[in-house]
């Protein structure tokens, strides 16, 4: 197996830039191309400072700064695995010894065909558009009560909007499990958020309301869709990697195709219970680094995926180390006025949650180890 001398990273996502940084750190000196029509951005601030006051370029800087790459500000529109080349929207092709698929995911839309005015939150532009709409608005309906939906609802509450949060399931139930979801629900209720458990259909063109299962129509100044994300695999059409569930990778980012790797939100990994995605910040970094090892035919690093995750609920930080969702009642490790530290059994170790408290991840990992 030869060490590559030309590597193409497709997507300026956190996973893509992490791969590029790690390749250089590992001593790779060959050609390194980064293909992305838009510059990358660090996404966690978008739903927080991005909706409070607007995110500055400093807020959105990807960690590590600009990697040492040759940039191509254009979309990749195809992959030719047999010819080992990436096809670009401007008609050019880029040959590769190894290619890294890091095209991330896009927000899932609920709008009907041709229905305009749906607000989503995925990119810096989305955040700016949403923030501008929140200015002067008094009511919001947030469709989707996962992490993003709850963060957006929290931002709306902080700005004094009256918020309705709609989902098929109670907020965060599927993600965090019943115990923490009950706490989240109670916090939201006390903050005045009207939680509705129902399917929701966007109404109006442009969108200005949602219709619930009982036929009622909720109008609001702002209607935001936070209904999850979809791996950005469409440009891989014609290859076996174009799978709506994401590109399956091993612990070094290797896909089913030789010399083709993938990292971050576009991927899924195999576990005992099937395959699943981990579209979270820490995992994008860990997978990017592991993928750089794969590209250079080095052994996988110790942590090829990462289970550290954080969110914010009504201003309270929630930090999690370990597998989700959490089943049953937790052991309370620490209790303070501002919050607590909890843990649940998880295989050989524990899943640990710090809620409302600034607990650094090395401490949480130590608690998770037992």
């Amino acid at each position: 197996v030869n060490t590559p001398t030309s590597v193409v990273v497709v997507g300026a996502s956190l996973a893509g830039t992490s791969t590029a940084h790690e390749l250089r750190r590992l001593g790779y000196q060959g050609d390194l191309h980064l293909v992305a029509s838009e510059p990358g951005c660090n996404r966690p601030p978008l739903s927080k400072v991005g909706l409070r006051v607007g995110a500055t370029p400093d807020d959105l800087a990807l960690p590590g700064g600009q990697p040492d790459v040759q940039e191509h500000r254009v979309d990749a529109v195809g992959l030719d695995p047999a010819g080992q080349q990436v096809l670009l929207a401007d008609g050019r092709t880029l040959g590769y010894d190894a290619v890294v698929v890091a095209t991330g995911a896009r927000a899932r839309s609920l709008a009907g065909v041709g229905q305009s005015g749906e607000l989503l939150l995925r990119t810096a532009r989305d955040a700016e558009r949403l923030r501008a709409r929140l200015d002067g608005s008094r009511t919001a309906v947030v469709v989707g009560a996962g992490f993003l939906g709850v963060e957006v609802a929290s931002a709306c509450v902080a700005r004094g909007l009256r918020v309705t949060l709609v989902d098929l399931e109670p907020p965060l139930l599927r993600l965090l499990g019943p115990w923490l979801a009950a706490r989240a629900h109670e916090r939201l209720r006390r903050a005045g958020v009207d939680v509705r458990i129902s399917p929701a259909e966007l109404v109006g063109d442009p969108v200005q309301a949602v219709r619930l299962a009982d036929g009622s129509v909720l109008h609001a100044d702002v209607v935001v869709t936070c209904a999850g994300d979809r791996p950005e695999t469409g440009w891989l059409a014609g290859t076996c990697l174009n799978d709506p569930r994401g590109v399956l990778v091993d612990e070094r980012g290797q896909t089913a195709l030789p010399s083709v790797y993938a990292a971050g939100d576009v991927t899924r990994t195999a576990t005992a219970g099937g395959t699943h995605r981990r579209p979270f910040w820490s995992n994008a970094v860990a997978q990017g680094k592991a993928t750089a090892h794969g590209v250079l035919h080095l052994p996988a690093p110790d942590r090829a995926t990462d289970d550290y995750f954080w969110t914010e609920l009504l201003g309270e930080p929630v930090k999690v180390v370990g597998e989700l969702p959490l089943v049953g009642d937790p052991e309370v490790l620490e209790e303070q006025a501002a919050g607590d530290v909890l843990r649940w059994p998880d295989g050989d170790g524990w899943s640990v949650v710090a809620w409302g408290l600034k607990r650094p991840v090395p401490r949480l990992r130590a608690l998770a180890a037992g």
């Binding site: 660090n42 960690p63 910040w281 550290y308 954080w310 408290l357 607990r359 990992r365």
Partner: protein, 64 residues
């Protein structure tokens, strides 16, 4: 090389400490203590300092 720390941005994730415990430390309250404030990072710690800064999820650490 210096590390510029933006303490207002720091959310106490502690990924820097995990990467470079000789350079970054977070106390029990989640507050960051940086080993080389207002001075150049010693040469033998530069790689660690950069590695720690490169995993900050909120851009609170910048190598300069």
């Amino acid at each position: 090389m210096k590390i510029v720390v933006d303490y207002d941005r720091c959310e106490g994730h502690g990924l820097c400490e995990e990467k470079a415990p000789s350079v970054y430390f977070l106390d029990d309250a989640g507050d960051l203590h940086y080993a080389f404030p207002d001075q150049d990072v010693p040469a033998e710690q530069e790689a660690a300092a950069r590695a720690g800064a490169s995993v900050c999820p909120v851009a609170a650490l910048r190598a300069q």
